[in-house]
């Protein structure tokens, strides 16, 4: 197996609230590794801490504690203090391409910035390189002089992807890159992303709440619930035998059309209630308030990660050895 590129170790992020001893525990001690060339899906509801994790990997937030190690280098520091080589190697595609592209700059200028900052090509080859980047995401060179407002949502996201690719990164963080787009263009964006991943051998940390999307693209999937990872497994394993009751609940909520898919799907489990507040986290297992199989024990003790099958980890009392 390829080497570990990104190692996230006991990562925590607590945001202070107005009350002194109360914290929003957005990310509460998670462990995750991403191998070279691997697509890892980080799935969870709103408020599960998946975006906070992405922002810590990017360096927009400094972690409260824990470590992020990228190619052997500790990068659990704010982006400002990171060396340029790290910035070059980790890039992000934001959720909403409407706000991630400067409305006053042309596509050419937007793509030129990373090239210039990292001295990717000499100035005279700048235009050719920009055209090549546009070509990589399937846009013609005419886009160079266009402003983002004249583009559609899908085209904007393609430009954002091209910008992220400009520095030739080895890890791309994708923060729900399709959720702000029309369904009609989502598939195109996903296809572009996956083709590029194969061509360039990048690793993806793919943040999403769309389980059905993950089935098709991810190598491994991690499920987050209230700041903790509750289940990690290879994608194939994951959909065949989901272990955690929360995962089963998520999977049963995917609408399916084909009969074959119907059989794969766990029995419908009605989701009960909303995700609790990360300020006031339930005692014991965080999921016990919504879990159909919760026992008394679940309220008392927090479960730890156990490897149930090969490389299939789950954090649930039901699978205690």
């Amino acid at each position: 197996m390829a080497e570990d590129m990104l190692i996230i170790k006991d990562l925590k992020k607590y945001f202070p609230t107005e009350k002194k001893d109360l914290y929003v525990r957005a990310v509460d001690s998670i462990n995750l590794t991403i191998k070279k060339g691997e697509v890892v899906g980080l799935v969870g509801e709103s408020g599960s801490g998946k975006s906070t994790t992405a922002y810590m990997v990017m360096g927009s937030y400094a972690p409260t504690s824990g470590k992020i190690i990228f190619n052997g280098q500790d990068i659990s520091i704010p982006a400002k203090k990171r060396p340029l080589t790290i910035k070059k190697n980790i890039q992000i595609v934001f959720q909403d391409p409407g706000t991630s592209l400067n409305p006053q700059r042309t596509v050419g200028q937007i793509l030129g910035l990373p090239l210039r900052v990292h001295h990717i090509v000499p100035n005279k080859d700048m235009n050719d390189r920009i055209i090549k980047l546009l070509d990589m995401v399937g846009l013609s060179e005419d886009y160079m002089y266009k402003y983002p407002r004249t583009l559609g949502g899908g085209e904007r996201q393609l430009v954002a992807i091209a910008r992220a690719l400009a520095t030739d990164p080895s890890l791309l963080v994708l923060d729900e890159p399709t959720s702000a787009l029309d369904v009609s263009v989502q598939a195109k964006i996903i296809n572009t992303l996956m083709n590029l991943q194969k061509q360039l051998g990048m690793s993806y940390l793919f943040i999403t709440h769309d389980m059905s999307l993950m089935r098709n693209i991810a190598d491994r999937i991690a499920i987050m619930y209230l700041g903790k990872i509750v289940e990690i497994a290879a994608a194939t394993d994951f959909f065949q035998r989901p272990l955690h009751p929360y995962t089963q609940m998520l999977l049963s909520s995917i609408p399916v059309v084909l009969k074959a898919e119907q059989e794969l799907k766990p029995k419908r489990i009605r989701s009960q209630g909303e995700i609790p507040s990360p300020v006031n986290i339930p005692s014991g297992c965080r999921f016990h308030t919504r879990c159909p199989q919760a026992g008394e024990y679940c309220m008392k003790e927090e479960p730890s990660m156990v490897e149930v099958f090969n490389q299939h980890f789950v954090s649930c009392h039901l699978y205690k050895k």
Partner: protein, 298 residues
């Protein structure tokens, strides 16, 4: 190779031209702002070519023709003559020069300084420099600009240049506050975050990413302020702290003419009307530019 290049530049220019046409369409929808533009262009034209189009260019300086002194508006002298027999119209034409120089000069100093300080304060929020700049701005904004300009002019020699400096000194803080407000909201946009994550320099982020998004309101304020600055400049020259006689200045002409009201009313009324028209022109133009630059779709 050359043909490819021309094709590219053509596309670039076509996009620009398209943008210009759109802007003009938005601007011209409001007839009043077109009227404002016409006034402003006329005033600038007159200021540039005052010595060609004024009926008596020599009346702009120290000129005495007591035989024609105090003529009412009418034949030969459209706006009448002053107590020394100088043509009021010619003197108004020449005084436009000082007024326009005043407006442009003040904005040329106050806007770059004010905007840059505002961008710094807005972007580096939470650092020490923000309260340092913004509290200074508060002090400046607490004083009426005319009072501040008067105070500064009082210690300087009364010249056009010094009155420009005085008004600039009183004016920059408004631009700092304006750009501070915009920069502090723009800094949270994802495209700023993206530039930071790419590793762009702070100067790049301030001037290339944030500044272009602030230009709309800044231009609007500049056009509106041209009128105000000219008004303050006229006020300064009204109390004798601007351009010195015998050179014509609108404020001085009104001040001198006021002594002869009511029987020689034209001495004060026409320069006063000229001030009003300039200020009106710039205000209407400013409104039009604001409408043009607003992101609201047509």
């Amino acid at each position: 190779m050359i043909s490819i290049k021309t094709k590219k530049t053509n596309k670039k220019w076509a996009a620009k031209l398209d943008g210009l046409c759109r802007s003009w369409y938005k601007f011209s929808r409001n007839k009043l702002s077109v009227f404002g533009l016409i006034i402003v262009l006329t005033v600038i034209f007159i200021a540039l070519f005052a010595d060609k189009i004024a009926p008596f260019p020599e009346h702009a300086g120290a000129f005495v023709d007591l035989g024609n002194a105090g003529r009412p508006p009418g034949e030969g002298y459209l706006f009448g003559t002053d107590q020394y027999g100088r043509d009021i119209l010619s003197r108004i034409f020449f005084s436009f020069r000082g007024a326009i120089i005043m407006g442009i000069g003040v904005l040329a100093v106050a806007v770059p300084v004010g905007v840059f300080l505002g961008l710094i304060a807005g972007y580096f929020q939470g650092s020490l420099i923000e309260p340092l700049i913004m509290r200074t701005v508060d002090i400046f904004l607490a004083l009426p600009p005319l009072v501040l300009a008067l105070a500064v002019s009082a210690v300087l020699r009364p010249t056009l240049f010094n009155s420009m400096m005085a008004v600039s000194f009183a004016w920059w803080a408004w631009y700092t506050r304006l750009s501070y407000g915009m920069a502090s909201s723009i800094r949270n946009e994802f495209y700023i975050q993206s530039a930071e994550l790419i590793g762009a320099s702070r100067l790049h982020i301030l001037l290339r990413e944030i500044l272009p998004n602030c230009l709309g309101p800044i231009f609007t304020k500049m056009t509106l302020d041209m009128g105000w600055v000219i008004l303050i400049g006229a006020s300064l020259s009204f109390v004798g702290m601007g351009e010195q006689p015998p050179k014509p200045a609108l404020g001085t002409m009104v001040a001198d003419g006021a002594k002869y009201i009511p029987h020689m009313w034209w001495l004060a009324v026409f320069p006063a009307l000229a001030i009003m028209i300039i200020v009106l022109g710039f205000n209407l133009l400013g409104d039009g530019i604001r409408d043009m630059l607003s992101t609201e779709e047509v």
